[in-house]
């Protein structure tokens, strides 16, 4: 029986939101994975940015992702970035169904089950009063 991946515990280094990423982190606190869509060209920009990454328009709207996607690439980490992290943990790049990438950790999954193409969905873990982190878990 392979080990089941868990979220990290409070004490890990946490994100410091910026002026233009704050709505993303606000969304995480209410269980929404938010992303930006360009009002001019319709293309999604992610990570949050001050301008569209297709046409560079500053006119971006926030939308909410269904949180479903598949693993694009992955790595199981056995040497922690700092001692605050518990190993093993799995970093994944996920292609969301709306067609953008998000880097996060995979949890609630046996450590040796991850593979490219695996269907996953978002789940949220509160790590401080200000920061709730999106993670991914197997979709079924």
């Amino acid at each position: 029986m392979s080990e089941i991946l868990q979220p990290q515990s409070p004490g890990i280094p946490l994100p410091v939101p910026t002026l233009f990423s704050q709505p993303y982190w606000d969304g995480c606190q209410v269980g929404e994975l938010r992303y930006q869509r360009c009002r001019d060209c319709g293309v999604i920009t992610m990570d949050p940015a001050p301008a569209c990454s297709a046409c560079f328009s500053p006119d971006l709207d926030w939308e909410v992702s269904a949180g479903q996607g598949e693993v694009y690439s992955w790595t199981t980490v056995w040497r922690p970035q700092t001692p605050a992290f518990t190993v093993p943990y799995v970093a994944v790049i996920v292609t969301l169904d709306e067609d953008f990438w998000l880097l996060a950790n995979l949890i609630n999954c046996p450590v040796d089950a991850v593979h490219v193409g695996m269907r996953v969905k978002t789940t949220f873990v509160e790590l401080s009063e200000e920061i709730t982190l999106p993670y991914f878990e197997p979709a079924d």
Binding site: D47, S73, T75, T76, P80
Partner: protein, 388 residues
């Protein structure tokens, strides 16, 4: 008349300081100054002959203590882009002789964590435990998924480079081998697919180079090595966004092959192609990066890099000897910049024909690189004993 302005610029001085896991009694400034003293001795130049300094945070102190002002300067941590800036400054008449130097000691002391320069505190990676090995692993895993590249092929790269360092008398990990691919695969896993011995090590050290005009180079005792070409590909900041192989804009040029377009420009400048390259001083932060670079630069087809590096092709005496001093895996890895300069230093050493180990006989063209797809950039330089 040179066919490209870079062809009128020669690298006339090279030096490495002492390199070690920990350099007792040194800090970053003192070890950088040691490399500068050595590079001046290498060329027979004195501080008053230098009228440009590109040494990152040491540019100001060096100019002040050498009293060589007024001098051209560049304050960015120097690697290939800064060498090319220095060459451009000389080619455009802003200065005639530039000292490039960098060093690091006493920076990485908290050994329970990964090195500080590998883990910037960016909001979209910091809480997911990301650091350099994990970033580059995401690139390697994608390639393995697409093309079936194997851990054994990665391990063959690592064993080859580590054996170069094993034999090199000044490598930090001299005498640690020899290594077989099985030894690499038997080392503990760091970030799948990278075992410990697939990864760069960390150490301390400094190095320095001196560039000048072709004309001035003729009066110096060292054999001049000319810049045949050089260019830089970047897809964004390192270690802040998902390091996706397919990251691309409307051009379709993708991060997975970062360095390809810099290489194409460099080959065009030098009127060269991959088959003209005698020695590949490729940057080796992780074993997979060497496989990726052979594909990116056009030495082999996309997806064939894993097979290409097998059967001794990249080892001593092979068609394309790679990273012949042991690179960041075994020679030294002093921080964010110094080991990138050391790829160019080794390329010059190969073309001078003065390598104590792994000298490629009659080497005339060296290809040097920095960076990697996990960091969203790759820089390329071509060096030669002659210009077209």
């Amino acid at each position: 008349m040179a066919k490209h302005p870079f062809h009128d610029i020669a690298i006339v001085g090279i030096a490495n300081s002492d390199q070690a896991r920990v350099l007792e009694g040194h800090d970053s400034t003192t070890i950088t100054f040691q490399a500068v003293h050595r590079v001046l001795a290498d060329t027979g130049l004195s501080p008053s002959d230098i009228d440009g300094v590109a040494a990152g945070p040491f540019s100001g102190p060096l100019t002040y203590y050498m009293r060589n002002g007024p001098a051209w300067r560049n304050h960015m941590a120097p690697s290939i882009p800064i060498i090319l800036d220095a060459a451009s400054a000389i080619a455009t008449g802003q200065c005639h002789t530039v000292l490039v130097a960098h060093g690091s000691a006493g920076v990485y002391t908290e050994r329970a964590s990964t090195a500080p320069w590998t883990r910037p505190a960016h909001e979209f990676v910091v809480a997911y435990g990301m650091f350099t090995a994990a970033e580059f692993a995401l690139i390697a895993q994608r390639h393995m998924h697409m093309h079936g590249t194997t851990p054994e092929q990665l391990a063959t790269v690592a064993a080859t480079i580590r054996n170069n360092g094993h034999a090199h008398p000044e490598a930090v990990y001299r005498g640690r081998g020899p290594f077989t691919p099985d030894d690499i695969l038997a080392s503990r896993m760091v970030a799948d697919p990278f075992h410990l011995l697939d990864c760069a090590m960390t150490s301390e050290g400094a190095c320095a180079l001196i560039l000048t005009t072709r004309e001035r180079a003729q009066d110096l005792p060292t054999k001049p090595v000319y810049i045949l070409g050089g260019a830089c590909d970047s897809f964004g900041p390192s270690y802040q966004h998902p390091p996706a192989w397919d990251l691309a804009g409307p051009s379709g040029r993708n991060n997975g092959y970062t360095g390809r377009w810099a290489a194409q420009k460099s080959f065009a400048m030098g009127e060269l192609s991959p088959t003209d390259v005698d020695v590949c001083e490729f940057y080796d932060p992780f074993s997979f990066e060497i496989i990726r670079q052979f594909e990116a630069y056009g030495f082999c087809e996309e997806g064939e890099g894993g097979e290409f590096i097998m059967d001794g092709r990249i080892g001593p005496g092979g068609q394309y000897p790679v990273t012949t001093d042991g690179g960041t895996m075994s020679f030294s890895h002093g921080g964010a910049a110094v080991q990138q300069l050391q790829r160019v230093i080794r390329g010059v050493e190969q073309l001078r024909g003065t390598c104590a180990t792994a000298q490629v006989p009659d080497a005339q063209v060296a290809m040097c690189s920095n960076g990697g797809a996990g960091a969203l950039f790759t820089d390329v330089m071509l060096l030669g004993t002659e210009t077209p």
